[in-house]
Assembly symmetry: D2
Homo-oligomer: 337 residues x 4
């Protein structure tokens, strides 16, 4: 912990901060300058909030020295982590493509989607089966029947399976059918769910909360890692900005930033980030060009009549065309899809 | 639904939008101008997203006519709602003061707090008993024992009881001890929890999510109202802005805005909004002056050694002084505390 | 300058940072811990950007020790500054009320406004005379004729005069007529204008840029102070947030924050912050309650036909009523208007 | 103009809005529904603010029908605009690369930069010659001497010349030396400067303000177009978000959005958007992949000793490597650099 005292802080104020640090079992190094006194404290930073020092009299600023996340830090595994999901490997040389509808609707729909996904080079089939929404009393989706349809269609086309789980009580059911559990953006700070998913040990895709800073997002990942599960994939899908609520903004800066801060693979979700079909291709290409390890795309045989998220969902033909572009961009970077 | 067509939209594009509206069982009124064609659709707006039209060729913009929340709307009850919590009434002439520690720690602590709260004119004693945090593996707090301590201390001083519930499974336990269930800011989009709390029928305080727009917040309230519970109090406690993560910004505009949009009472939480003790008094006074129906304050006999949120927690003496100021501000507006 | 090295930074990396600091004429203190090495540099911080160190290999973070603004800092004048504008004093015990129209339109209009302002207890009459807008080719306003009308009306009612100057070439003209030069929110980073206004030595009201952090705003003030003018008043008038562009958000937190960081007086502008008439009263009261040294209000005899900013402008009767409320709130805090 | 009345608006309230629209010379179409009344007004939208209606009693919302910018709109020139700058053409098939230092320092520096730029395939050499900063009393830079050095170095290598002009009085001087006038992010709402640049008729690069919405940015472009200059290039360079002030966020969504809204070319500036050298490559590739018509890169023979913006400036070798990647990405999209 580093505490920078105010210009003009009194000796009594400096001493009060030292006393507090010592009380908290820190060892303190003091540096007295002509203008400012700086205190360096070595000790249990994880149990103290910098703000506790910042409200003390005569304190200008307090900063942690040590990163608040450890297992998620790049230093923990400098070479990077690869997460295997079925036959796909996130975080390796290849860029992994995931595709599927917002909601699994019926056998015909998911079969068409699976066929198109496999044909275009995707390795993971995704689909929602239980979507809670503020507007509606009951979650939409087919539940276990949806999982079965998803699993069967994926099996026919050699794809891995991914689906979003929002309730810790559902984890047991989901792991029977899916290779990758997805945590939606609204649950990024749901400690209970994160902990239970961590215990399940299954590969996880952790969406970023629309208002989560990169640090908060990594803290959420840390929670899963701490529970013993190191198969975590991060998914950037847009943040709230002054352009909101009209649209989220894909935080493309987060891709190179995460590559520096963490060893976990990171992918992009241009469908949610763009919010409308005609934005998806540009954002998907940008994500791959920025160095993302994968991209997830919402697709549907008939998006105009999709039961969820139709506006941001690609038609199968558009998807096939985009997949070709993504392969070309990946190749330009020396990667493949 | 109002659909504004692009300058230069073709007749075929206009017709496609009309067809889609009719397919969705809207009645369509068309207005053709020299520059733009505008379509007005009357029908089931609640099942359609404006974005579904905005991605159609030739469409410039699509807006809902009807508010997405109904029971929470001012029009539903123009005279305003009063929520009774023990002897307190939120949304009436009086401004209600709530006070308590971030965590109930022991009998002595909560007794001192309750005594100070009652002495200063607060009507509700609040305290946390089970706080989940991203940083720590297990929730902090005394659980049921904490609820009992809170309830006993409140009883000795004639105060109502409030505490934060984060898990739907805990609701049954909490309603035995508390008069007011609090939903924390991170759970504002937790549909399952909101629905279960709605069914419980107990008075609820709904914190605003740090990244929730006012409309999203009212949609969360609507969810509780739809479940049959109309005893909902809204609590503004700061939003993410460009000044974040250093600090949240109390959205003081939200107070008069909510008074126009909804009949539900609204209070402010200056402790979380300010994040540090020396900001609390100014924000609390501002909230009351802006027309809030109440204010909640974190207090503790020894904030420097508080087990949670010490930096933003007031000492009991400072609290007593602030309570005096708040009474004076309320009186200036013709209200009392 | 404090440089925190990465966990695992090599000795060569540490040495490179030390060499760079020494090259820049810093004296370096090194603290080697088990996990992190921390370097403290004492030297010419004002000519170095922390980011220059943050891009060096092995560096985790770099922070300034010394505040980037000095003359504007609270430490420069702990007792606070009072700025005299005509008979008014900003930053003293009294809360100063300013009022006037967005644009001076004609003699009759400004006379009615001045009469109402004086009658309600305002001490400063303000009005725009040259408003440039992105939408229109030429600035709106009466120019020098407007200044004369403003000055005459103010004189008849014993008010000081304030107006917004956007062009450094106009300063000489404005100081003939006004007691307070106002710098609009869009010019907060206009170094040339700030410098020229600083040289003019006339009292200045510095609006906050809608996207300026508090630190950037104080840097802009510093620029004026450096030019030798210490009569600077800060005006908070709303920032961009996720609720924008629908509306700005009055940063009420900024009031107590500025009271801690700077000795300069701070006032609020609820008209621009609210953007609509029915928000103004609540925000004005909140500003005074939070400790602002003044409040500026847009008023007009007939806002529906005002030539600028009508939606956020109060009718004269509403203004009189609000002035009464503000006096009561100020009195509740032991101040007067 | 479309005015949606509140549920429960009275006939008198509806009539007041109609009267106001008619007074403003709109023709009004009324649509009365079971819940809401909607008024459509055809008339001089450009002189009315929607907020003027939104503050009227009984009004829920008011929207413009017509876009506030016309000349900048895609409809004005559906095929897109190409802006010629020396031998380069922005907005055509090729992706144009611009490169140069934050400040022109001396002949040797700019010669090395020009050689590297030309060698890597850039077509425009840029460099600052007069940089005003809040921190410093006088602008940094060599002024006319810098322009001459820039012009000479560009000439030797067959490059076009670009530099930032901040003061309308300098335009005449700049157009002697440069092919492209750049307007910095802080001047996006400086109407006077925009108008004068418009009159100069020289190609312009208009940076986005860090807090400007896309609509505001297009309004600034409109201002230049209205003055008769249609050679405007837009440059996205990062916006303020909750991750600020630590870093700006490149608004990558803005690229496809602008392609839909406007006919003007759009490029990206990954140096300012990233703020640090190690972010630049990823953001530059993302910009090209998203469809930008160009990219500008800050480069310097010795960034550690650059007189401005060293942290975000690339070394010449890194730049050469990145240029190769950008060519590959452009080729993947069927474009060339």
């Amino acid at each position: 912990m580093i505490v920078i005292m105010d210009e003009g802080a009194t000796e009594a104020q400096v001493q009060a901060v030292i006393d507090r640090l010592v009380e908290l079992e820190f060892t303190v190094h003091r540096s007295t300058g002509m203008v400012h006194t700086v205190l360096g404290g070595v000790g249990p930073e994880e149990v103290v909030e910098p703000s506790e020092f910042e409200v003390m009299d005569g304190v200008k600023e307090c900063r942690r020295i040590i990163s608040p996340y450890k297992l998620a830090s790049r230093h923990f595994r400098p070479s990077g982590t690869q997460v295997k999901v079925g036959g796909a490997s996130f975080g390796g040389d290849a860029v992994v493509m995931m595709a599927g509808p917002g909601l699994v609707e019926n056998k015909d729909q998911i079969e068409k989607v699976a066929e198109a996904a496999a044909g275009a080079g995707a390795q993971v089939l995704m689909g929602g089966v239980k979507k809670a929404r503020l507007h509606a009393p009951a979650p939409a989706g087919l539940g276990e029947e949806g999982l079965r349809l998803l699993w069967e269609a994926a099996g026919r086309h050699g794809l891995a399976v991914a689906s979003e789980v929002a309730d810790a009580n559902d984890i047991e059911l989901f792991v029977k059918y899916v290779d990758l559990l997805m945590v939606e953006s609204g649950n990024t700070s749901n400690c209970h769910l994160l902990g239970e998913i961590g215990k399940a040990g299954h590969p996880v895709l952790l969406n970023r909360g629309a208002a989560a800073t990169v640090e908060e997002w990594l803290l959420a990942a840390e929670r899963i890692l701490l529970a013993g599960n190191c198969n975590v994939i991060l998914c950037e899908r847009g943040i709230r900005t002054m352009e909101s609520p009209a649209r989220l903004t894909l935080d493309i800066n987060a891709i190179p930033l995460l590559k520096r801060l963490t060893h976990l693979p990171v992918i992009v979700d241009p469908s949610h980030a763009g919010g409308r079909r005609d934005m998806v291709a540009a954002l998907a290409r940008a994500g791959v060009a920025a160095g993302a390890d994968g991209v997830m795309l919402e697709i549907h045989p008939d998006p105009d009549h999709a039961r969820a998220e139709g506006a941001q969902t690609l038609r199968l033909e558009t998807f096939a065309e985009l997949a070709g572009q993504l392969k070309a961009v990946a190749a330009a970077l020396g990667r493949r899809i």
